[in-house]
């Protein structure tokens, strides 16, 4: 579904991704794990069109998207839930969800999907008229995810959805990620919490200083001594 080949991405003169190659198959949950500053968010931003690769190829369902404008990429079916949620704090929950459907014209479909989002996140329905800035961190994460789903993505990019959340909420969010996956959306998940990410993912890539250093099935990585040492807290 998504194929990335040997991309280099820069911020000015600083190279943040160095020859990254990866692929995601339809229906999978793939996770990227790696330390702070490794380049995980940069990779997601490159896929969603916020950054342009200086070199290399990004293919989505066979079509090159590297360097396309973000809005065309959303239209093609990739939604990105950015790190830190980035909800529109000055707008209501309902308005945030409407903006998620910005490119869609099927009014009835939009209405139906808003209903689905409220089913997935009943907490949002209770706060429908509230300004997004007044929501708790967990609720903002739900809103950011719901907003992204409103675009009807076939590939959903999630950047650290558990950041700053209490363990119980994290569990809830991860259950919902699995639910979204079961409904047929392919997921690329960035997580600091490698244990948790590996527990729901089919496959994983390990990123270190802009490079993919390891990849494989989740079970294999969970079992690997190297990963245990570096990311799963020893033992």
């Amino acid at each position: 579904m998504l194929k990335i080949e040997d991309i280099n991405v820069y911020y000015g003169n600083i190279q943040a991704l160095k020859g990254v190659t990866m692929d995601i198959n339809e229906g999978e949950i793939v996770t990227l794990i790696g330390a702070n500053g490794a380049g995980k968010s940069t990779l997601l931003k490159t896929i969603s069109g916020l950054l342009k690769p200086k070199q290399g190829i990004v293919l989505f369902e066979g079509e090159p998207i590297g360097g396309k404008a973000a809005q065309s990429i959303v239209k093609m079916g990739i939604s990105h839930v950015p790190e830190g949620r980035r909800v529109f704090a000055n707008m209501t929950v309902a308005e945030n969800l409407e903006l998620g459907a910005y490119l869609r014209k099927d009014k009835n479909g939009i209405k139906k999907d808003i209903g689905k989002v409220y089913e997935l996140f009943p907490r949002l329905l209770e706060r429908i008229k509230q300004q997004a800035g007044t929501l708790s961190g967990g609720e903002q994460q739900m809103l950011a995810m719901g907003r992204a789903l409103m675009a009807k993505p076939r590939l959903l990019l999630l950047d650290e959805p558990s950041m700053g959340l209490a363990p119980l909420l994290v569990k809830q969010i991860f259950n919902i990620i699995e639910e979204i996956s079961e409904e047929g959306t392919t997921i690329l998940l960035v997580e600091q919490n490698a244990n948790l990410a590996l527990s729901i993912a089919d496959r994983a890539y390990v990123v270190e200083t802009g490079r993919i250093v390891l990849s494989g099935k989740s079970e294999e990585l969970t079992a690997s001594e190297e990963i245990k040492q570096a990311y799963l807290g020893g033992h």
């Binding site: 916020l50 959303v74 950015p82 529109f88 704090a89 903006l99 910005y102 490119l103």
Partner: protein, 292 residues
Amino acid sequence: MELIQQLVNGVSLGSIYALIALGYTMVYGIVKLINFAHGDVFMVGSFVGFYAITVMDLSFIPALLLSMVTCAIFGVLIERIAYKPLRNATRIAALITAIGVSLLIENGLIYVRGAQPEAYPNNVLPMDKLDIFGVSISSQSILILSVSIILMIILQFVVHKTKIGKAMRAVSFDSEAAKLMGINVNNTISATFAIGSALAGAAGVIFGIYYIKIEPLMGVLPGLKAFVAAVLGGIGIIPGAMVGGLLLGIIEALVSAAGYSLWRDGVAFIVLIFILIFLPQGLFGKNRREKV
């Protein structure tokens, strides 16, 4: 009664400031640029209205609409040609460019038609005196005020209820997140310039009808005062610009009424200094932006 008449004058003048201030504040909200050429868009709007009325023989509403459309296009051209290439440049570079654009428009117009003033005909709107509770108010003031209020209501509707308005608010708040929604940020910025400039064009026509005399440098002082009004209300905040404009108009009228009409122009800048010292966020500004 004299005082009430002065207040009516103040509100009329204030509504002109408010219309101009809206453009300053909307543009600042979305690209963080003080568009110093905005007062000149107001001036161009006034001239378009003048020629529409005198040469093309249009009545008030068609002249107003023509001026608004012309200014909308003009504003978008300014944005695309002068500001867009500087989107990622330093703010001071953009500011200096804005001042340059302002000088170019003023002197460009003087080069094309000369610096001599023009006078709006005084029969554009009916000049009856209405007697309201013993206060005589010209029907013209009331019409002008009504037009301003209608434009502001339409603006509120556009910003809050339409798709482009929601896109404008989203881009103002977080342009990168807006991109992720599929919003075309460049088009949204252009729309903001178009709407702000159209309001300035309307203000130009209203100003001409109210104050008769127009000339190529007429945009400088009202432009600066509208900027003060926008800062007074809280730069970037739409209702703030409306209230700030009205308030500034009323303050000026009261200063005149108190017999200090020579101080009228200075007062706006004294107000600016006071806000910057005591209330730098403006009346409607929040101290911190809600960022999580």
